[in-house]
């Protein structure tokens, strides 16, 4: 077990070192959520109270920016893995006595760490422009950990596809499936104002519970039920992606 932790740590450190050497990759991941946050708040913020009874729309939109940022970053592990596979470096790692799962988990954790960092930036920006935060510093920490945990869970999709196909295009395409899910959730408005068909879909969408859990920390206060549902959504996504990754890993070591 300590071996598993050490090797995972070493491989996470390597992934982060490499990310620092190509900062351009992550600049896009930081720009997109901040851009959408600014335009959405700018467009809808003024009418949010009359339209659907949201007082703090800057806080209301914050989880969307966090999830967008985290999902963008979580595509990194799969993409980087396809590069390792193509360069043959992945086989060099497979030839060491590293536990197999540590080889991919290190990369996925690196995404979680990056998502944590980006989330700090996004929250700071939101607070700077006047977003509230009902649960204070402790709530912020919970929010950061939750967002990072989501990035970890979600990076498994790209990793599983990378292991299965070795193709960077496939890894990227697979990871884009998050975006429809993000917009089939209470992204711009609360679920109560949705048309019935959209509400039905949104209620079946794990991203809904993620957003509502995160949002409760910002705009409502401590709501154990919302947090538990959010945690369950993350755990569900993780169970799925980790299983797929495990299977793909076994397939690759034939």
């Amino acid at each position: 077990m300590t071996r598993f932790i050490t090797t995972t740590w070493l491989l996470m450190a390597r992934a982060l070192r490499e990310a620092r050497r190509q900062p351009a990759n992550d600049l896009g991941n930081a720009f997109i959520p901040l851009f959408f946050y600014a335009v959405t708040v700018g467009a809808v913020g003024g009418v949010a109270r009359e339209a659907f009874g949201v007082d703090d729309y800057k806080g209301f939109q914050l989880p969307v920016a966090l999830l967008q940022g985290a999902a963008g970053i979580a595509g990194g592990a799969g993409l980087a893995l396809t590069q390792d596979i193509q360069s043959g470096y992945f086989e060099k790692l497979m030839l060491t006595s590293t536990p197999r799962f540590a080889i991919v988990l290190g990369r996925m954790l690196a995404d979680a760490v990056k998502a944590f960092g980006l989330s700090i930036l996004i929250i700071a920006m939101a607070l700077a422009v006047g977003s509230g935060f009902e649960t204070g510093p402790v709530g912020m920490l919970v929010l950061l950990v939750g967002t990072a945990a989501f990035a970890l869970a979600y990076s498994g999709i790209g990793v599983a596809i990378a292991l299965k196909t070795g193709s960077p295009q496939a890894a990227q395409a697979g990871f884009l499936i998050f975006f429809p899910l993000l917009f089939l959730a209470p992204t711009f408005a609360p679920i109560e104002v949705f048309a019935t068909w959209l509400e039905v879909i949104a209620r079946a969408n794990p991203v809904t519970y993620l957003i509502e859990g995160q949002r409760s920390l910002i705009t409502a206060g401590w709501e154990p039920a919302a947090l538990a549902k959010g945690a369950a959504a993350i755990a569900g996504i993780a169970a799925l992606t980790f299983t797929l990754t495990g299977l793909a890993l076994r397939g690759r070591s034939r």
Binding site: R3, T6, T7, L10, L11, R14, R17, E18, R21, Q22, D84, S87, G88, Y89, F90, E91, K92, L93, M94, L95, T96, S97, T98, S253, R254
Partner: protein, 327 residues
């Protein structure tokens, strides 16, 4: 105990791609074993099966006494592997890459530092150690890749065409590392397309042809199996050569002959003392010799006998070797 033992090892990628088609191996500890064959004969596939990267279709293999299928993790601790294509990470420096490799084998960070410094010295990369691998030349990458295979001090090392594409100086260096480590008891499994390499380095060799081992033994044994010397006699016509072939074959002391166009090659044990007899016999038969050469039988002769063709090195590889030499 054998360092490497395989029994009926098979890998079929599809019903008609029989990359490895039932091979047996038994390589004693401390040997340099050469695996010879031309492009596509199944060398790399064999290495990948023996080093746990590829699951065999059938058969069993033990490396260092451990079954590669039953306990791949223990096999990986025992073996060092440098694959045919270098597998390096462009974004890391040479030192980072070697250190990570060492740490992933469970070696402590202090010990890693010592080994990495030492290995960088050995493969002459100390000066380039802190530059990203992206900027390395082909030869530097090959040497770093080799160092990665050595960092956990394995007792059995697999090198898949370690010198293909290297300039003669670097090639010589690689040969020296192999010889030095072997003197300390390290076993080598080395694939190559170069007869000279096999002849110089290997205690035993196996010749692969289309997934099967067609000849096995020490270079000296293999050469003497066809006669230690080769006398090549050239005639004015194919017809003359044919008549000479049947005449020469009847002479005492001739092990075998090969006829190729206007050329007859006689394999025998004591070439120098037989030359006179051959010339006299041909004279008696009224055959005029245009040219006569006496040489030692080479592995190329063995390869020709075993496979029916010369060992042709991939032309692209030769070009790469020239380009690498010029760089």
């Amino acid at each position: 105990m054998s360092a490497v033992a395989a029994n009926g090892l098979v890998k079929h990628f599809s019903p008609d791609i029989r990359a490895v088609d039932g091979i047996d191996l038994d390589i004693p500890e401390g040997q340099v074993f050469g695996f010879l064959g031309q492009n596509g004969s199944g060398k790399t596939t064999t290495v990948r099966m023996l080093t746990t990267l590829l699951r065999p279709t059938a058969g069993t293999a033990r490396v260092g006494g451990i079954d590669v299928l039953a306990d791949p993790d223990r096999v990986r601790k025992l073996v060092g592997v440098a694959l045919q294509e270098v597998g390096l990470d462009d974004l890391q420096t040479g030192r980072e890459q070697l250190s990570l490799q060492s740490r992933l084998f469970g070696i402590s960070s202090g010990e890693t530092r010592r080994r990495v410094d030492h290995l960088l010295e050995i493969v002459s990369l100390t000066d380039a150690a802190d530059r990203p691998v992206k900027g390395y030349s082909g030869g530097m990458k090959r040497r770093l890749d080799l160092a990665c295979a050595l960092v956990h001090e394995p007792r059995i090392i697999f090198l898949d065409e370690p010198t293909t594409g290297l300039d003669p100086v670097t090639r010589d260096q690689v040969w020296r590392y192999v010889e030095e480590l072997n003197r300390d008891g390290v076993t080598f499994f080395l694939t190559t397309q170069y007869l000279e390499e096999a002849d110089r380095l290997c205690h035993d060799i196996a010749i692969m042809d289309r997934g099967k081992i067609v000849a096995k033994g020490s270079p000296a044994e293999l050469k003497s199996s066809i006669g230690t010397d080769a006398i090549t006699v050239l005639f004015a016509s194919d017809d003359d050569a044919q008549r000479a072939d049947s005449r020469i074959r009847q002479l005492p002391g001739i092990d075998s002959t090969a006829l190729a166009g206007r050329e007859v090659v006689a394999y025998l044990r004591n070439g120098a003392s037989a030359v006179a007899g051959i010339v006299l016999a041909l004279n008696d038969a009224g055959l005029t010799v245009s040219e006569l050469r006496l040489a030692q039988a080479t592995l190329d002769d063995v390869f020709l006998r075993a496979t029916g063709h010369h060992l042709e090195v991939d032309k692209r590889v030769e070009v790469a070797a020239v380009a690498g030499g010029a760089a």
